[in-house]
Amino acid sequence: MPEPADRETPEPDIEVTLRADGTDYRIAVDPRTTLLDALRERLGIYGPKKGCDHGQCGACTILLDGKRANSCLALAVAHDGAEIVTADGLAADGKLNRMQRSFIEHDAFQCGYCTPGQIVSAVAMLEEAEAGWPSHVTTDVSAEEIPFTDEEIRERMSGNLCRCGAYANILPAIREAAGVGRQG
């Protein structure tokens, strides 16, 4: 298929408004810019990490309008007006939140690169579980009450990879932050 001559030329920037970690920003972005690149390269918010850049590792996980999402696959132009919370924003008042403290107390990381994504994902995952969302390991998806077992935590966190293999401590960190004892 013949290509138009200008395919390598950037299209004009488009203005978007983003509220990130409690601050409003208005920036003009190339339509190709992902939320991840907008946060890191334009807004100086470095919590979300670029691991795989293909939605496979979860290091870029943010809260996007209240739900966890891979910021590497979301185009900034498509999320004009979005409210974003990163791991930085979870401690916006200067005080670490419950999940962040639990990760420290359980030594739930080694190199730390995946950690902001793990923490944001875990915070959102607990909200999903509290809302009664089932998971792949839920035996009966029509059940009213879903037991929150270690198996449930593992499954619900499977979108966040840790190449150091700190899972053995990530699991108890999340379990404790969730306020549940040893189950499953």
């Binding site: 299209e11 190709r32 850049d53 999402a69 979301a74 185009l75 132009v77 089932p134 029509s142 499977s158």
Partner: protein
């Protein structure tokens, strides 16, 4: 990534008209597959028309007892919906077996149906692929093909459709509602995707600028007795090697009605019509379940590395029907 023009229309007809005017463009919804394909250079649209906020994000009850799922309903919201979990548990299970929590929050119903194959050669722009570049050949046919199709493939393409959700919808008789330049139409999800034939570049029967606006789930009295099971290479967050969605109605030891669809075996979700025909009116017993699965798989043509899919599919169908027949 190649540059593109980004448009956001005011409504669905406006979005359809905008894309209809363009030569090489695409609708953008959640972006979880499309943006990735653009990053790796498999897809290079000149225009993206954003429809994420145009189609409905609601799940409505239909007067006949079915459900209408807006195309923008996320995979997460659909899987968690109480009505879906009670009336169509296979659909909830299928959605929950796909991707990850954060991907399901972005991915939409319409976009999930239109996601593209994960064939490694389709993604690798250094290799021939008839789906990516028609006429260049199929690298999987004589290459690494453990993940590929055993049913309905052609010498031009042996890719499989990757969706779990679409397999459950195919079994449940879901119908996609389409809006295009020529107006509205409906098409069963079972007929939305094509077999590759001579044109593997065409995944679906949709025409240019046709947009899925909703998916209707028809009432099915026995759909509460439905289930989805997926076999993959790790316990979570991987595509299906083989999957099966089934619903079963047994009375007095006789199969009154049944719905079966397979995933991971063909270029489209594979409705197992032959197995269903073989089962209706027959005994709800392991032997007849296995015979029905064999009838469906009689025409399977495995490749060098994917012969395992034939017994795997047979055992999955047999086991699932046994479990469904024991529960009711």
């Amino acid at each position: 990534m190649r540059s593109f023009r980004y448009y956001r229309a005011g409504d669905v007809p406006g979005a359809v008209a905008t894309l209809a005017r363009e030569r090489a463009g695409a609708f953008l919804a959640g972006g979880t597959n499309l943006v990735d394909l653009m990053k790796v250079g498999v897809t290079e649209p000149e225009v993206l028309v954003d429809v994420r906020r145009l189609t409905s994000a609601e799940i409505e009850d239909l007067p006949d007892g079915g459900l209408r799922i807006g195309a923008a309903v996320t995979n997460s919201d659909l899987a968690a919906d109480r009505r879906v979990r009670h009336r169509y548990p296979a659909l909830s299970q299928a959605l929950l077996s796909g991707a990850s929590g954060q991907l399901r929050n972005l991915a939409t119903t319409g976009g999930n149906l239109l996601q593209r194959t994960r064939c490694v050669y389709f993604y690798d722009t250094t290799t021939p692929c008839n789906k990516r570049e028609p006429g260049t050949g199929c690298s999987a046919l004589d290459g690494r093909n453990k993940d590929h199709a055993i049913l309905g493939a052609s010498p031009h393409c042996v890719a499989t459709h990757p969706s779990d959700m679409a397999v459950a919808m195919t079994a449940l008789g879901a119908v996609a509602r389409i809006q295009g330049p020529g107006g509205e139409r409906q098409i069963p999800v079972a007929e939305l995707h094509r077999l590759p034939g001579q044109e593997p570049q065409r995944d679906t029967t949709l025409e240019h600028a046709e947009l899925i606006t909703a998916v209707d789930l028809p009432p099915l009295p026995f759909s509460p007795n439905s289930r989805y099971r997926k076999v993959r290479e790790r316990a979570s967050y991987a595509f299906a090697l083989v999957s099966v969605a089934a619903a079963l109605q047994v009375r007095d030891g006789v199969v009154r009605d049944v719905r079966i669809a397979l995933g991971g075996v063909a270029h489209r979700p594979w409705r197992a019509w032959k197995a269903e025909d073989a089962l209706r009116g027959g005994p709800a017993a392991e032997d007849s379940f296995r015979a029905a699965a064999d009838a469906e798989l009689a025409e399977a043509e495995p490749l060098r590395e994917n012969g395992y899919k034939v017994p795997l599919a047979r055992n999955l169908i047999t086991r699932m029907l046994l479990e469904l027949s024991e529960e009711r």
